[in-house]
Amino acid sequence: MNNKSIVIDGKNVPFEDGQTIMQAATAAGIYIPHLCHNPGFTPHGSCKLCTVKVNGRNCSACTFPASEGQNITNVTKELNDDREKITQMLFVEGNHFCPSCEKTGNCNLQAVAYHLGMTDNHFPHFFENREVDASHPDVMIDHNRCIFCTLCVRASQEVDGKNVFAISGRGIDKRLVVNSESGLLKDSDLEATDCAAHICPTGAILIKRTGYKVPIGQRIFDHSQIDTVTLANEGASHDE
């Protein structure tokens, strides 16, 4: 029996105590754009793409608890324009070249950008010099594409029972680091079968020798929008 509800864009959405706005929305088939959120892991609230207006106030849907009396706006021009700019910030901060990236078509960052109608980078590029760690026999890190969502950090801790990844540094100097004495992936206890090796929403962590197994044109977002794909994948996990 569930008679509690919130309102999202004029629609009544039921929720249970303890659910976040994101969880309630996803279960009800409403897509809220997000990158650092993944329903299998502790919410992080850092990418800020899932910002919605709760009774006029900006809140991160992935961390903010749903509660009675919330009138929420999600799809508005204002919010989507700003989400686009936040996505553009992620693009200029790193070095993202979709045409030459093996993740293209399977990349959440790229798919969100398409969803929001992003056609350019808008902001000046940082052109940061970031490195590639190809030391591990089966997994590689391309730091150029990391957006600091911490999904690999959480997956390693929460699912794999390891502690392979962490985010280090402050401000714009933040970076993904590997928990090994050398700092290299090969000296960590990461295995290619680890959840952490597969969770990256961009092309920052890749399994070697699998890059073009699925040809371009047959990839996840080649024929579907991210909202449909997300609701199909993530909506299911809430119904358990």
Partner: protein, 592 residues
């Protein structure tokens, strides 16, 4: 080194929460945190090495590469710039024979900038091996260079370098009281804990860090949480540029602050308190420790305080150079031995704070006021101030005025009154509340200091007409980009973009569209950032753009678009490769 680390970890009970304290000791001994130390600490503290690495990279005072045996930092606050910091630091660098940001080849000395060190009333200020130095002039710099070059140990330097004046110019309700040694605790237990909380509520006391949350409510909510342990934390991470009142309160009224913490602990039911002292105030550490020792001896701390069956003690924890740790949940993370990244809220610290236990974090000045309210009652305090802002506020006044220092006024005082008292003339404007606050122009001096008009944590920087608005904005924008913790996208990327955009305009490369782009970026950072730092980081631009649009306009070029970088300079590598330097190998920034 192994022996040293082992000993250090043991002294700290192998507690990972003490990581900052441990790293401070390692840094002081080895001038950096050696890799081997990280490996050993990870083992003995049983934490991932990446947590230690993150802490080292997050805090400005920790280093993975060695700094000099004398590590000299010069405060980069706007008030330091106003006394000629740029010229003086260059002079310093030249005399020492070291580049700013680097270590001299012999490893003896390093020189760098640091965010406001809280000495704006005695600029130019800095830190040597963490200890505050004040009133730097060329002749003082000469003396320091001599000490450094002769490798005179810091303990043998003239004490004059390290003199920090209180500069209390105007005392009011709180500063007129003498330090409290037991009277507030006695009054609290005599009156009753609930009754004392009622007095604090009646006083209308609101948080003095700037946000202004009602103190009594914080304590009440914290008390009402069902928990086996609760914590009291004094926020002495006074990092807002231009603020130094907590430095003075802790130097002159430490007893009263500790007494306020003790009263609060009794009310909420905490047995452990912490004072999180910003690393820049290392010079206060020993003095504060001595006060704690005295208070333990007098049974004002420890077991069964004044025979009321109440146990409470206070531990001093030093920060390590991170403005963000003034945010209460970031401060708690730091106390737990981690990088200072603000938490998601809810839950609020009063529900889940330090070690996920109910925690009340209050400002130094709040505890000073609370201790006095516990003695004199709520009405004594509420008789001053305005309807919504009761009592007095202690201000740190600096910049272009004859008498910089500490001033206490009842809320409701006008900016003009303060300006008259501190001897400011020919004024351009005032930055109230620090960079995260508001810039007030000369036609607004009748506005009042109060939560309902100009809210402030106590920073009050005066600028006269010889100053340039854009220089101020430039300094503040760089400050926020440097201090952003980097957790959320809008602040991490946004403050750096803002810095670049301000630089572009200030350096004269801006064109018509750049003001619009600037404003758009500001709104994005303000509306979408995770915490107060990001939400206020654009205030310097927004508050000055609103008041002085012409100042920005005048810096723009009269063309429709200009690249954000120097075209000709970018061709330098190509010219070198082609071995050319003729006219055709150069490019004008715009078609003339």
């Amino acid at each position: 080194m192994q022996q040293f680390i082992r000993q250090l970890a043991q002294e700290n009970d192998f507690q990972a929460t003490r990581l900052l304290k441990i790293l401070r000791a390692v840094q002081a001994r080895y001038f950096h945190i050696p890799k081997a130390a990280i490996e050993q600490l990870a083992l003995v503290l049983n934490i991932p090495r990446t947590q230690i690495q993150n802490v080292i990279e997050f805090y400005s005072f920790f280093h993975l590469e060695p700094r000099g045996q004398f590590d000299i930092l010069i405060s980069d606050s706007i008030t330091d710039l106003m006394v000629g910091k740029e010229e003086l630091i260059n002079y310093f660098a030249e005399k020492l024979g070291v580049k700013i940001g680097e270590v001299r080849a012999d490893g003896v000395v390093s020189l760098n900038n640091t965010s406001c060190s809280g000495m704006c009333d005695q600029s130019l200020a800095g830190l040597v091996n963490g200890y505050a130095i004040t009133n730097l002039t060329k002749s003082r710099i000469d003396e320091i260079v001599e000490n450094v070059n002769k490798s005179v140990p810091l303990e043998q330097w003239s004490r004059d370098f390290f003199t920090v004046e209180d500069n209390i110019i105007q005392s009011g309700l709180l500063l007129n009281e003498t330090p409290i040694k037991g009277a507030a605790i006695k009054a609290t237990f005599a009156r009753g804990l609930t009754e004392t909380l009622n007095e604090v509520e009646k006083s209308g006391l609101r948080g003095r860090g700037g946000a202004g949350y009602t103190t009594a409510w914080k304590w009440k909510f914290c008390h009402e949480e069902n928990a086996d342990q609760r914590y009291i934390i004094c926020n002495a991470d006074e990092g807002e540029p231009g603020t130094f009142k907590d430095r003075v309160i802790l130097n002159a009224y430490a007893d009263s602050v500790f007494e306020g913490m003790t009263v609060a602990a009794a009310i909420i039911g905490a047995t452990q308190g912490f004072i999180y002292l910003r690393g820049e105030y290392l010079h206060l550490y020993e003095k504060l420790e001595a006060v704690l020792v005295e208070r333990r001896a007098a049974n004002l701390l420890g077991k069964n305080i004044l025979h009321h069956g109440f146990d409470f003690d206070i531990e001093i924890c030093l920060g390590a150079g991170a403005y963000i740790c003034g945010e209460e949940s970031a401060l708690i993370e730091s106390l737990e031995g981690k990088a200072g990244i603000p938490r998601n809220r809810p839950p609020y610290p009063v529900v889940s704070g330090y070690l996920n236990k109910p925690t009340s974090v209050n400002n130094v000045e709040t505890f000073l006021a609370a201790a006095n309210i516990a003695i004199h009652g709520g009405e004594w305090f509420a008789a001053f101030g305005t309807a919504k802002s009761k009592g007095t506020k202690i201000h740190s006044i600096s910049g272009d005025c004859a008498k910089p220092g500490i001033y206490e006024y009842p809320f409701g005082v006008t900016v003009q009154t303060i300006l008259d008292d501190c001897g400011a003339t020919d004024i351009l404007g005032v930055q109230v509340g620090g960079p995260s606050g508001t810039f007030i122009a000369d036609n607004e001096f009748q506005r009042k200091i109060a939560f309902e008009d100009l809210a402030t944590g106590g920073s009050f920087i005066v600028f006269n007409n010889s100053r340039n608005i854009l220089d101020i904005v430039h300094n503040f924008s760089h400050f926020f980009a440097h201090e952003s913790c980097g957790f959320c996208t809008p602040c991490r990327v946004g403050t750096s973009l803002l810095k670049k955009q301000v630089d572009k305009i200030v350096e004269g490369h801006g064109s018509a569209g750049d003001i619009v782009a600037l404003e758009e970026l500001c709104q994005l950072i303000k509306n979408y950032s995770h915490c107060g730092l990001g939400q206020t980081a654009a205030n310097p631009v927004l508050t000055t753009l609103e008041r002085y649009p012409e100042v920005y306009q005048n810096r723009l070029k009269k063309i429709s678009y200009e690249p954000g970088f120097d075209l000709d300079k970018s061709l330098e590598t190509a010219r070198r490769l082609a071995n050319r330097d003729d006219a055709a190998a150069h490019l004008a920034q715009v078609e003339e």
